[in-house]
Symmetry: C2
Subunit: 334 residues, 2 copies
């Protein structure tokens, strides 16, 4: 996909809660320097605590893109948003969105963008032709986050690892495979929207052969054990050809996300499966450790839980948002 130009003006709309604005929150958490401010409509509840310069003010601060960082209700883009979006185009910005309703379906936006030479970027639509994967061994190092389930913290884990590696002076890039990750990186592959035959090929394209000291830290998607999305996860694993895996886990789940009938895999089972499939294309693949999202765990139990998992699996076990990921990155250097 074409590069989304930063910095952003983050549009939160009239988001009723933080969940509805999680894209904007994620972008601001990981790329605060790429955000010139937020734009909130009357009634918007979440607040990033940053400036609200308005459209003209954001343009003055150099904003290149109005980023729709809110999930709208019902999939319809309301009239009030369209006026605001047109104003952003007039002020010199592109617009980027991951909404189900595509920006380019809205005639006035399409016409205004064409007239002004601006871009409407719908990150759910792959715009490139990807190759069929070859699976051939390629240079450079790659790390992939995999999960016991969907939405267990794979993006946050990989972004934390990228940040830690960069702080140590390592040659590293975060490679995005989902919409928030793509906004953060400014580019990526919306892998769940790619045509099935090209899943692995799109990931080979995303993280091609690289210098011997270079690391791609790749955002994972779904889980091999989630029957709705397992094909995406396996294609991603084979396309990534990872040297290292990190297992992401949310310990309070009682069933696979969205599927009350579907039991969770065990951590051991999930690691063994991912390792076996990784080794089809990367014979020395191994786990760097486990990243646990303990957000819903009793704070008094966290430390003990992580320590018990470290003992059980004989590898570092961290919560990226609490303990950091230094112990995982140490493994990569070992």
């Amino acid at each position: 996909m074409s590069q989304i130009m930063q910095p952003y003006l983050l549009f939160l709309g009239d988001a009723p809660d933080r969940l509805a604005a999680k894209t904007a929150i994620g972008v601001h958490d990981w790329r605060p320097d790429a955000c010139v401010g937020q734009f909130r409509l009357p009634g918007c509840v979440p607040d990033l605590g940053i400036d609200e310069p308005g459209i003209a003010g954001a343009a003055e601060r150099g904003a290149r893109t109005l980023l729709v960082g809110v999930a709208n209700r019902g999939g319809v883009i309301p009239e009030s948003w369209i006026a605001l979006m047109s104003e952003a185009l007039e002020a010199g910005m592109d617009i980027a969105s991951g909404l189900h309703t595509h920006l380019s379906e809205i005639a006035v936006l399409r016409e205004t963008a064409e007239r002004l030479g601006r871009r409407l970027i719908d990150v759910r639509i792959p715009t490139e032709s990807y190759p069929i994967a070859s699976g051939a061994r390629r240079s450079g190092h790659r790390l992939l986050a995999v999960g016991t389930d969907c939405s267990v913290g794979k993006m946050y884990a990989t972004l934390a690892i990228e940040r830690e590696m960069r702080s140590r002076g390592m040659n590293v890039d975060f490679r995005a495979t989902g919409q928030t990750g793509i906004f953060i990186a400014g580019s990526g592959v919306p892998v769940d929207a790619v045509v099935a035959d090209f899943i692995a090929g799109s990931i080979e394209h995303l993280c091609p052969a690289a210098d011997d000291d270079h690391w791609d830290v790749i955002e994972g998607q779904g889980s091999l054990f989630h029957p709705s999305f397992s094909g995406v996860s396996l294609g991603l694993l084979h396309g990534a050809q990872p040297d290292y895996l990190v297992l992401c886990h949310e310990p309070t789940r009682t069933h696979m996300r969205g599927l009350p009938h579907q039991p969770l895999p065990g951590i051991q089972e999930c690691m063994e499966a991912n390792l076996a499939w990784a080794r089809v294309v990367s014979e020395n693949a191994r786990f760097a450790g486990i990243a646990v999202n303990t957000f819903h765990v009793d704070p008094d139990s966290r430390e003990g839980m992580l320590a018990a998992l470290e003992d059980e699996f004989a590898m570092p076990c961290v919560d990226p948002m609490i303990t950091g990921v230094g112990a995982l990155v140490d493994q990569l250097l070992g």
Copy 2:
């Protein structure tokens, strides 16, 4: 996808060899009664040995669809084909094709079809919106062919099983997932062309809950061990929710198809992997047996090879085109 109306006039173009006409050959092999004849252009080498009634004659015999059963060279549809196709539309037929060049890209065909109310069916283009898979247990029986590699005989194995089951009076449908299979069945899901998020969902849609005595016999695609297409294979496996699997194998391969660097899985390894993943959605899944494509095996060795595999894996091992598949179907009744 909308039903492709039978019977067909099989168009072989100027195919230089049988491989180029394998779609037409496959359709004629499995549905001879659905073919009113063949249409060959000057220079066409393969010959199905059936009537060549011409366009008008085919229409008189009730042909509903001109089926493009040839892979053209270079992906361009030559002028001579277009004239012939227009004639078929005028004579009352739809046109169905799996070519990379879409019929609907050719203005004269598009206009003629619109004027006459005929359909141009490009089976590589999914035309339906598929659901996200749920993986919830559903009624009816399902059998899926899986493979050690791509192109090892999964379609022929499943068609042979369907034919055998039907001959025994069983309530069975062949479910197509590739273009030749779709022509044979008249409908199906071109699973490798489906958007990644909907792979498993498209297969749940293809073989929905059914009567307790009903069998869906599902054409497989690719292999879990083929790094180009493994995502398709795993999504298909989870969407199929199979009660029974049949492992398809071509014993003379030296590497995964198209990938000289990629070793083949062992039969045992491949069966264990498919079984483990099938059981994520179908806890009692089991193998009915092994279907070996011995076309390239020394005829004197075939019988011994099949017997040795039967001994090793303690299950029926057949070549569908030589021994038939009765021994596999016996397993389904046991």
